[in-house]
């Protein structure tokens, strides 16, 4: 244990003494550095004096109203072992002495040389520490006056946040992952993708969905946009048969399917799978919803049969809440189109000159540009948009014009 005597600091030009206004500590108190210990007043200013060190107060000099000369002992601290006493009494100088009666101002004692809390290190070592994420205030310096040397940095621990985890983990690309990788590469390599993004006002669709959810059959699950989009898609494809096609590359033939087997891109613990809603054109909304739910559960539980996973003629992909604002889906070859659903969010929309809140969802789709012209692709998505924005039309059979 060592003692440190703090003397009345020089509180400003020409100050010879200061009057004690109030003590904020008493013998026996444990104070921490910078804690307010005493308020004093000079003929020019009221000043709050903070503790220059941390320690236990052994004695104080003077009571409220007493005048203490600058440089005479004011307070004696007992310092814990290892705590460095300031080399000299800090000189406290108010930056701008205020008139008596003005609010008291805090005066920080000037840091004495090599006092604790002041890091000593060369600029180069400061840079090294910064780059290595080392907090210099935690490093014990072994150089003259406690200066931190380069060698001291070698043993210092970097901040946890930047811990460098060495090593790697190898995962073999096998099974479903290999299959996905091969099919994705093949599709992306051979198919000239034409991406098309359009926004759809799904305010009314949302209203319908909410109503259906409130009034749904007891055994039916909660309804998402997906079955509604699948159903709308089957209606639209009647007019765009060139999108419901499988390309037989070996024979050089486009095989138009009259049935609409809609693949549903599904995330499973093993990876992406595409179970198929067969003959979606012939199913009702709740049937489509139930089938999607059933297939997804089976795919996720790794119970889907091979038949349930092949034979789609077009694919719908939806990331639900992760849908983002736009995406560029990769076509599920040998199909020629894939329809992507982005996240539905409420946005300000201008309608008839007024800004109104509408629920907007983007459709991000890709087409095989070898077989689907951009014009047809756009027209198909616009037709889908029309159905989704006027959801009653999803349930009205297409009127063949001819």
């Amino acid at each position: 244990m060592s003692q440190f005597t703090f003397k009345m600091p020089d509180l400003g030009e020409g100050t010879v003494e200061a009057e004690i206004v109030a003590w904020h500590t008493k013998p026996g108190d444990v104070v921490t550095e910078d804690q307010l210990i005493v308020e004093v007043m000079t003929d020019k200013a009221a000043v709050e004096v903070p503790a220059p060190v941390s320690g236990r107060v052994l004695s104080v000099t003077g009571a409220a109203g007493d005048k203490v000369a600058v440089g005479s002992p004011l307070i004696v601290f007992e310092l814990s072992d290892g705590a460095a006493a300031p080399a000299s009494a800090p000189a406290a100088t108010p930056a701008l002495p205020k008139a008596v009666g003005a609010p008291a101002q805090t005066v920080a004692p000037l840091a004495p040389p090599a006092a604790k809390g002041r890091v000593m290190a060369s600029p180069a070592n400061r840079r090294r520490a910064s780059e290595a994420g080392i907090d210099l205030s935690t490093v014990a310096g072994s150089g003259p006056g406690g200066r931190i040397l380069r060698a001291d940095l070698q043993t210092a621990a970097p901040r946890e946040a930047v811990a460098d985890l060495a090593g790697t983990t190898e995962i073999k690309v096998i099974g479903l992952r290999r299959l996905i990788a091969e099919r994705m590469s093949e599709a992306k390599r051979t198919i000239p993708h034409f991406a098309y993004v359009e926004e759809v006002d799904v305010t009314e669709l949302e209203s319908l969905r909410a109503h259906l959810n409130q009034t749904r059959p007891k055994d039916a699950g909660s309804l998402s946009y997906l079955p509604l989009v699948v159903l709308a898609l089957t209606r639209v494809l009647e007019s765009f048969p060139q999108c419901n096609v499988l390309y037989d590359a070996a024979r050089g033939v486009l095989v138009r399917h009259h049935a609409m087997h809609v693949g549903i891109a599904t995330q499973t613990p093993d990876g992406l799978k595409v179970p198929v809603v067969r003959n979606a054109q012939s199913l009702g909304l709740w049937e489509v919803a139930a089938e999607i739910r059933r297939l997804a559960e089976r795919a996720r539980a790794n119970k889907a049969t091979r038949e349930e996973l092949i034979g789609s003629t077009i694919t719908v992909t939806s990331l639900g809440r992760l849908g983002g604002i736009a995406s560029t889906p990769i076509i599920n070859a040998p199909e020629v189109a894939i329809i992507g659903l982005n996240k539905a969010v409420e946005r300000p929309v201008v309608i008839n000159g007024a800004v109104v809140v509408r629920r907007i969802m983007n459709l991000s789709s890709s087409f095989d540009h070898r077989f689907v012209d951009g014009y047809d692709a756009a027209a198909m998505i616009q037709a889908l948009k029309e159905r989704l924005e006027h959801p009653a039309t999803i349930f009205i059979p297409t009127v063949k014009s001819s």
């Binding site: 600029p123 180069a124 400061r126 150089g143 200066r147 060698a151």
Partner: protein
């Protein structure tokens, strides 16, 4: 190539320029008939005549003023001030007229003048023959300041300066005229024939201004210096077995900041050395630039080695001259573990 000391190299430079360019004239005290107190212009009046190599009165203000008048009338004067210690009567002409002619006439006139002047100590010359006033001139905008440390650079730099269309003050460290000097006055004098830079091309060649010379590459510390101190610093570092990078600035204005800062960023340590007095010396400028450009690379405070802040003394010259001991002390301080 021929062996030349610095006097012969300077003489060769002026000889070549007098022969090459009829507008070049030499002028100064005792430079013609007598050939200069250090013999730098020996034989040139005989060769080129009294109208090309002109003996002037002992009036430095007049020498500079006359040179200015000649230069704005299409001549290219090389004026010798016999000792840098005598340059002050010409100081007003240099600062108030010479340095500003181009600026003041909005470029209508310029003054292609080279003022040659021997500087520095080490010759028992006392306070009137030993000064190093280069820092006074580096502080004046509009003039270039050059100081070679060997015959080869002296010749190439002097030709560059004579051809330069703006004024240059060309300081010649007189202790190096006859041989390199490592700061030890007790050792026998060494001739330039023992030094690689004493081999000088006899023909026309130039050494560019603003390009420092890395005399020795090293990794432990950068010693930034010029003139006589180049040799003193090299000897001190070698004696201490310190892998110092020694940089001879050669021209102070323009200054090769890139070479200096690249070196200090590499070594992280810097010693600046010059013979001139320390306070407000040119070393302060180097220090300032180094800390501005290289602060985060510095391992230790930059050290300065310079002459004491007194007049150059008649007695105790070797206590005054910043010799190897002072360089070694600076190296020791800057190389402390950091």
């Amino acid at each position: 190539m021929a062996n030349m000391n610095m006097i012969q190299a300077l003489n060769s430079a002026m000889d070549i320029m007098l022969g090459k360019d009829p507008s070049v004239v030499l002028m100064g005290e005792d430079i013609g008939y007598f050939g200069g107190v250090f013999r730098a212009t020996e034989g040139l009046q005989r060769k080129y005549g009294e109208h090309r190599v002109i003996d002037t009165p002992i009036a430095e203000g007049g020498i500079v003023a006359t040179a200015i008048g000649m230069s704005v009338n299409s001549l290219r004067p090389v004026a010798e001030i016999q000792f840098a210690d005598y340059i002050y009567p010409g100081f007003d002409q240099i600062v108030s007229e010479l340095a500003r002619i181009r600026y003041r006439s909005a470029g209508d006139f310029f003054a292609p003048i080279t003022i040659r002047t021997p500087c520095g100590g080490g010759i028992r010359g006392g306070q009137t023959h030993s000064q190093s006033p280069e820092g006074i001139f580096t502080h004046v905008s509009g003039i270039k300041v050059v100081m070679p440390s060997n015959p080869c650079d002296a010749k190439g730099l002097l030709i560059t300066c004579i051809e330069d269309d703006d004024p240059v003050v060309f300081f010649e460290p007189k202790r190096l005229y006859n041989g390199p000097f490592d700061g030890d006055p007790n050792k026998p004098a060494v001739p330039w024939s023992t030094h690689p830079k004493g081999q000088v091309d006899e023909g026309y060649f130039k050494v560019p201004l603003g390009k420092a010379d890395i005399v020795r590459a090293g990794s432990a510390v950068s010693i930034i210096t010029y003139g006589t101190m180049v040799h003193v610093a090299a000897a001190a570092a070698a004696a201490m077995n310190v892998d110092a990078e020694i940089i001879d600035l050669r021209s102070l204005v323009p200054l090769d900041v890139d070479t200096v800062c690249t070196s200090v960023k590499k070594t992280g340590r810097c010693v600046v050395a010059h013979e001139a007095t320390r306070f407000s010396g040119f070393g302060a400028e180097i220090l300032s630039i180094v800390q501005e450009e290289c602060f985060w690379d510095l391992e230790a405070p930059i050290q300065r080695v310079a002459g004491w802040d007194t007049p150059y003394p008649h007695a105790f010259e070797w206590e005054y001259f910043p010799g190897q001991a002072r360089i070694k002390a600076a190296l020791k301080a800057v190389l402390e573990p950091a």
